[in-house]
Structures are given as C-alpha cells and as structure tokens.
Symmetry: C2
C-alpha cells in the first residue's frame, strides 16, 4: 500500500496545471479508506501474483474513485466530504469537473501500462456502468414509484461496479482460472452492494464519517429504507413522502418523522439485514480459495463495510 | 462517415438510463462538423488502411469531443452551443457532467476494441493533456500577465491534442512508418492550433456558428488578440483591460471598445495571420505523402478551419 500511495502522489502531479495536485491532494489527503486499492492488492496476492501491475491497478481504481467523488460533489451540490469542505466549495465547480476528468484520464494511462487488454476491457466497462448508474439515480430521484430492483441497478452501477472490477482485475493480472476470476467479481459486487446499502442507511441514522445526516432525504434519493417504508405507507404517510421526496418540500423535523415511519414498517431493521446478507454473500464467494492471510483480509473487508451497522 | 454515424448512434444508447441518449442526441444531432472523425478516416486511408478500426476510432474521438463539450458548457456556464440551448440549460448541470463521463467511458471501450495498446496510449495521453489544458485555462483566466507561450500551451491542450491524436491514430492502425506517423501528428497539432486561434478571433469579431459574440471577453479569457492588445497598451488602455478582464466588470459597449483597441495595435490582423500560418504548417506536414484524393481532403480540412478568416 505504500507503493500505491507513492504512485498516486507521482501521477496526480501536473507540471502545467498546479491546481490539479492541489485539488486532488485535498481529497486523497483527507484519508479515504483505500478499500478499493486494498481489494486489488489482496485479490492479486490471493492468486499468487508476483509482478508489480497490481500497484498500478490499485492506483487506477483509486483515481477512478476520486474522479467520481469530485463529479458527485458537483452533481449533489455537497458541502462536506470526509468531514471536510468539498473541493467544489473550496475551489469551484469547474475545478471539480476538470480535475475529475484529469484523474479519469490518468487512470486510463495507468491501466494501459499494464499492457493487458482484458484489464482495459473490464475497467472501461466499469467506468461506463458507473456513469450509467449515476444518470439512472438522477432520473429516478423524487420518483416514489422507484422499486427495489431499480435501486439495486443504481447501486450496482454507481458503487458495486468499481468494487467488482477491482477484485476481478486482481485475479486477471495473476492469470488465475476463470472460476476464480468469477468468484472475485462476485465478491466485489456483493461487497459493493453491502457497502452502499450500509452507507444509505447511515445517512439516515447518523454516523461519524463527516457527511450531513439526512442529505439523501433532502435530495429526494430513493434509498432502500425509504422504498420499503413507502411500500407499506397508508394514505397519510404517503402524503408525507409525497411532500418530502416527490415535491422536495423538506422541513425541520422531517428526518425524525421519516425515521419513525421507517421504524413502524420495520424498514430500518430489514435494510440492515439486507446489507448484512450481501456482506455474507461476499464472504461466501471466497470459499473457492484456500484458507490463509489474504482470504482473511478480503473477508475482513466484507465485515468492515457493514461494521457500523452492528 | 455513414458507418461512423451509425456506430455513434448505437454506442450512445443506454438501456438503463434513457436520459443518456437524449442528452447526447441533442448535441450530436445538432450537426457538429465531424472534423475529428473525418481526420481519422482520411489519415487511415492516406496510409492505405483496409480494416474497420478506423470507424471505431472516428467514433471514439467524436465521443471524447462531445464529452468535453458537455463538461465545458458546465465550466463556462454557457447557454448556447451550435446555435441551440446547451444541455446544461435544457436538462441540468448534473446531466451534462454524468453524460459526459458516460461518453468518455464509451470512448475507451471503443478504443479497447481495436486491440492496439499504442492507440490506447496515444488517446489516454491526449485525454490527460486535454484536461490539463482546460485546468490551465481556468487558472490563468483574468490574469493579464498571461503571455503567448501560456496561451499556446492552453490551446495545444484543450484543442490541438485531440486533433493530433485523431490523425496520429489513423496512421498507427495502418501500421505506417514512424516518419509518417510523426507527420500526421504534426499536421493535427498545427490544424488544431489554427482552428482554436480562428475560433477565439471569431468570438470577438462575430460569425455564424451560434455562439454569443464576446463570450470569451465576458469570461475573462486571455485569447491571442487580447494578449497582443494588452502587450501594446498604454496606461489608459491598461486600465480598461484591468477593469474588463482582471476585475470582470464588463459593461455594455466594452466589446466595441476592445475591438477598437485591438485594431489600434494591429492585434486582429496579426492574430489572423498567425492562424493562417498554422494552417499552412499543417498542410506542409503532408508533403511527405503522395499526391491524391486523401491528401487533398486533409489539406482542404486545414483550409476549412480558417476559411471564416478569409
């Protein structure tokens, strides 16, 4: 991971445009959890990879992730990320958009250096699916008819696609069997889904990661606990969701009332269980691999993404 | 070019997020000039290429170009593009950012299909240089100390890099000699510089491409005629530029006064000559190739980008 951090620091530099490393350092320096790079390294190691392309690919997925964060903050008009003001607030929207584009391009340069067309195929597909998931989320925002299937499609795209690609390419560069590559992709996909459901739940119930509680509700996002509470709503409750989500007339006290309604319909508890189920599925996918330190690391990661729900 | 248009139509689709083709069609359907795809096709043909990867790469460069237009409109807060309202005005900034990201990812998928790591290297480098040029432009906006060297760096990045890559990859997929690949890159670079200088000049003097005249001045962009007029300014003129560009206090009548000052310092006429010089350099780079229809087409393109200056 030290080699990954060193490579990230080198490649985020830009001789011609000093603002690029400033903006990037603000975000990367804020100490993300580096879950995605760790997945690449651990997956490659689990498949006995001995080269150094895993470091390049670990930096690649962190760059793609950072680029999407920069663009998300513009899309969501967020003011806080990882407990600090967002780049679009400290600089401006144009800087966030363009530095995101730069990091995205840098990520492609890094993967080209691996010389593996299959890796390029996996990661360019992931990039397209991520953007599709984000656009889909935008299109269904404030739409109370959104169902669980659509929600899953959104989070598979915007979140799980990159986790799935990260663990998959770890196996691919190691030249492991197709069955193991499939297992790694399944692992990353399930972990990513668990991660996003947990994140959506914690946006409502509160946590310590430095985002504002209730942001998703104010933005009219249809997350799983909301979808489940809406599904069970009587006409009075329906009027509440219609005002808050569909018409966007959020008022003080609405977060508390939303939580009451969710609790009444058991939406918090069932959502929590759904996240834990996906985490368990991620761990099960690893059964194919021999016991050992790296398998334990990947299992621990699957526990880690839902630990705040326990 | 019909095959390119058909491929563009297929690949801009998205089953999961119908807003993507809507936004893309608004821009691509507005009838851009398709200069970049034409360069790929003509360069490949000039090098006797017989396969079909030229069509993929032509669609690739149009997708990259369209993605940068979508992001530029957010960055510049533009309201018109190609004589129609911009996507960020018709939909919203988030749609422009995310659909741009999608097209960028789709462009990488297309180039991966060519199976050429060298092509991937050239185009991922170009994507990084484009973003760098845009960020540099942002950092030097409203800075009256900007010199011609910096201006050239900005437009080489934001504009010429994609033209250079478009003609270069045409030669690369054809497996032509390094000398010819170099010549094609030089051609695209010079043509791109000529194109951008012409575009910057026409933003001031007016034209028919459906942008608002004087936009660059209002946004405090340091374009070549402004840089040259500032270089020759006396203290009174300097105060004018300081108010309009540096402090951004644009008033009615400022465009006319700016044009007067530029004319006084011969900045319009010398800028026009600089654009024509770069166009001539682009044509000269083709001397290496045998006479014929494709060389004529590429020469005609180099004339076309400055035709409105004649």
């Amino acid at each position: 991971m030290e080699a990954v951090n060193a490579l990230i620091a080198t490649r985020m530099a830009s001789e011609n445009a000093p603002r690029i490393p400033e903006v990037t350092a603000h975000l990367i320096g804020a100490g993300g959890k580096r879950v995605r790079p760790l997945m690449v390294l651990a997956a490659a190691d689990l498949c006995d990879y001995a080269g150094d392309h895993d470091v390049r690919l670990a930096a690649t997925v962190e760059f793609i992730h950072t680029a999407t964060l920069l663009h998300d903050d513009v899309v969501d008009e967020s003011e806080q990320r990882r407990g600090r003001p967002t780049a679009n607030l400290l600089w401006d929207n144009p800087s966030s958009v363009l530095v995101g584009d730069y990091l995205f391009a840098r990520s492609f340069q890094l993967m080209v250096e691996t010389g593996s067309l299959r890796v390029l195929d996996i990661l360019s597909n992931a990039a397209a699916v991520i953007a599709e998931g984000e656009v889909l989320q935008l299109s269904v925002a404030r739409n109370l008819a959104t169902d669980e299937e659509t929600y899953l499609k959104v989070i598979r795209g915007k979140t799980a696609a990159l986790f799935a690609a990260a663990s998959e390419v770890g196996g691919v560069i190691a030249g492991t069997s197709e069955a193991k590559v499939d297992a790694l992709r399944t692992y990353g996909d399930a972990l990513g889904i668990a991660f996003q459901i947990a994140d959506d739940l914690l946006d409502l119930t509160g946590d310590d990661i430095g985002k504002n509680t209730g942001d998703d509700l104010r933005e009219g996002k249809l997350t799983l606990p909301v979808i489940r509470a809406v599904a069970g709503a009587d006409s009075e409750e329906r009027a509440f969701w219609d005002r808050v989500i569909a018409r966007g007339r959020y008022q003080d006290g609405d977060l508390e009332q939303a939580l009451d309604l969710m609790t009444r319909h058991d939406a918090i508890e069932t959502t929590r269980k759904t996240a834990l189920d996906w985490s368990a599925r991620a761990k099960d996918a690893l059964d194919l691999f021999p016991e050992g330190e790296m398998r334990d690391t990947l299992r621990a990661l699957a526990d880690h993404v839902v630990v705040r729900l326990l």
